[in-house]
Amino acid sequence: MARKKPTPQAAPGATQKLRLHVPEPSARPGEEPDFSHIRVPPAGALPRPDIAAAESSLRGYADGLIRVLDEDQRAVGEWDPQLDAETLRRGLRAMMLTRAYDDRMLRIQRQGKTSFYMKSTGEEAVAVAQAFALDPDDMLFPSYRQQGLLIARGHSLVDMMCQVYNNTRDRLKGRQLPIMYSVREKGFFSISGNLGTQFPQAVGWAMASAMKGDTRIAASWVGEGTTAEADFHHALTFASVYQAPVILNVVNNQYAISSFQGFAGGEHATFAARAIGYGIPGLRVDGNDFLAVYAVTRWAAARARANHGPTLIELFTYRAAAHSTSDDPSAYRPQEESARWPLGDPVERLQQHLIGLGQWSEAQQQALARELDEQVKADLKEAERYGTLATAPASPKTMFEDVFKEMPPHLIKQRQEMGY
């Protein structure tokens, strides 16, 4: 939790004036970054409970922090998922590809080739490790910062770029803001611009899967700031009441645009602890630790598949980049803060882990970085053959379609008015 700067208080007993407490982050621009309030327990300290364990026996996990990679990036403790080197390398690759994709897309936005972009830099382990931990046909209800899910599921970058460009191959027909992907064949639900709405929808999907005696579970993601929305509460209530087979993830990257997580309640409890009041296990995990994120997600998935109900996971991480291309973090947080994040960088940590295992080298690392950058460039070239928002976007002809399954008379009339 962020350090709570308490409002000064008069002597107890004496009737005193009430005072409003307004949260204050530990450091503002110009001040020294200060993460002294963040307790980082040693890796491997927490045991891995049985997937059938009663919620009441799991409450410690809401205040704890599940970590597998230690200071030297060695995997330690019961939560070590014991992944083989090949899988770890694929994970590293997917995270690096996500980062390379983000960097390239930011550039093309800066070049004016599209209107908007959002990076996930520093949070790649969340989406990639969780995609690896879930089954390919589990249904994903993401927020706008889990592009790593698509990349880890091997979706075409060209297809993603075409959406960002709103070009003639944009499967969303130029209708959506860049990065608001929807990829049905990859079990990736249409991203909404309205925060949190996907959370209860994921629960409903999971309830349906349970009604039908299916085996597929659902997972959803919101940021810590979004936990304040009604949809968060509705999702947890319905997940608890019907014991839905769903994994509800809160990505605590410390910020909601300019607001630090204290404005979502983070001064007074962890976000994992929100689960306790619903009788749902709440687990807090080092979100920059690929192995820990993978292991905790596997545990929650196994629990859900065995009809033991939902799990809330708080992924403790840091938003290293700006909120979006419309944002400039230097206006509200110390510049060097990102570099001081106590839990490090997920890509570097997994890389060091592999090197420590003798399964990876600096040389391979650099070669892979170059390879991925080339791939992204090549994909971008192809995507641009289908146009960009600046040049040739998709055709407005289709703009009256899909409001309804069949176009009602008034829309046919309006389309004619528009000249199509």
Binding site: S190, G204, H234, T237
Partner: protein
């Protein structure tokens, strides 16, 4: 054929669809074991089981948020909002999600949900059990909105709504659940069984969404109404002794513009009646449409007879309710003007 009131007709529609399609699920507050505060789902949980017909937490936003997720999975959820007055907590899931999903996903995902909600006043429910919010939903692109005025239409429209692949708002005028109330609150209510519209097939049939019905043909003035007001207008036409053509819109969106235009071009006069507050109510859209399409045929100003722009006051229900006298007076003005 069976004789049904509107509650029985709605129950029958749900029963038929639960029986025909394993993907239909029915839920809402007090909907399961108890069968709904208006009894519309009575007996269905017993017949189809707890995982097809069930109670929910008291969270309209959660009910529709999860309903959308079920729809995405492939089910056809039918959710009840206990009173239309309580639909606002679910407004964001309806407007930003159910209505937008097909569009924003390029047709990849959609939410074939049906939202049932008892609406309207006349039962001394006070300002939070009497509202008619239908107009707001007609402004939301991506939603369909229907309101039946009798048992036959209620069952046929509800089945059509459940089978529709787009989200449908299904408003139930609670004042006419048991009989076609014509606004004369001082007279005994006639039960549905005395009227032809209570003859309802036991099995499956549809009333097409988007088609109006002519409740009473006439030559002098077109009266546009829906729900309870259809019966009020029929009474008013009789009492004003004008040859009014009463059109029961049944579907507000999509709207049956042809039926309206044909009638107004014939009569040259139009009165629009609804129970909802006047300003920016659906009557405004109807007035605009008639004026745009029939301008050169109009012989008098289009009149709106509606609820006042106040909350529904408990003790003054009958001052608020647009009864036959107010409609008749408007009819006379339009015939003269």
């Amino acid at each position: 054929m069976a004789t049904m009131n509107m509650i029985q007709a709605i129950n029958s529609a749900l029963d038929v669809m639960l029986g025909r399609d394993d993907n239909v699920v029915v839920f809402g507050e007090d909907v399961g074991y108890f069968g709904g505060v208006f009894r519309c789902t009575a007996g269905l949980q017993k017949k189809y089981g707890k995982t097809r017909v069930f109670d929910t937490p008291i969270a309209e936003g959660g009910i529709l948020g999860t309903a959308i997720g079920m729809g995405v999975y492939g089910l056809r959820p039918v959710a009840e909002i206990q009173f239309a007055d309580y639909i606002y907590p679910a407004f964001d899931q309806l407007v930003s999600e159910a209505a937008r999903l097909r569009y924003r996903s390029g047709g990849e995902f959609w939410a074939p949900i049906t939202v049932r909600a008892p609406c309207g006043g006349g039962i001394f429910g006070g300002q939070t059990h009497s509202q008619s919010p239908e107009g707001v939903f007609t402004h939301v692109c991506g939603l369909k909105t229907v309101i039946p005025s009798n048992p036959y239409d209620a069952k046929g429209l509800l089945i059509a709504a459940i089978e529709d692949d787009d989200p449908v708002m299904f408003f139930e005028p609670k004042r006419i659940y048991n009989g076609p109330f014509d606004g004369h609150h001082d007279r005994p209510l006639q039960p549905w069984s005395k009227f032809r519209e209570s003859e309802v097939p036991e099995g499956h049939y549809r009333v097409e969404i988007g088609k109006a019905a002519i409740a009473r043909p006439g030559a002098d003035v077109t009266v546009l109404a829906y729900g309870t007001m259809v019966h009020v207008c029929l009474a008013a036409v009789a009492e004003a002794q004008v040859d009014g053509e009463v059109i029961d819109l049944r579907s507000l969106l999509p709207i049956d513009l042809d039926a309206i235009v044909t009638s107004v071009k014939k009569t040259g006069r139009c009165v629009i009646v609804h129970e909802a507050t006047r300003t920016s109510g659906y009557g405004a859209e109807l007035s605009a449409l008639v004026q745009e399409h029939c301008f050169h045929h109009l012989e008098a100003p289009i009149e709106r007879v509606t609820g006042w722009d106040t909350p529904y006051p408990h003790a003054f229900e009958w001052h608020y309710f647009p009864g036959p006298d107010r409609v008749a007076a408007a009819l006379k003005r339009v015939m003269e003007g």
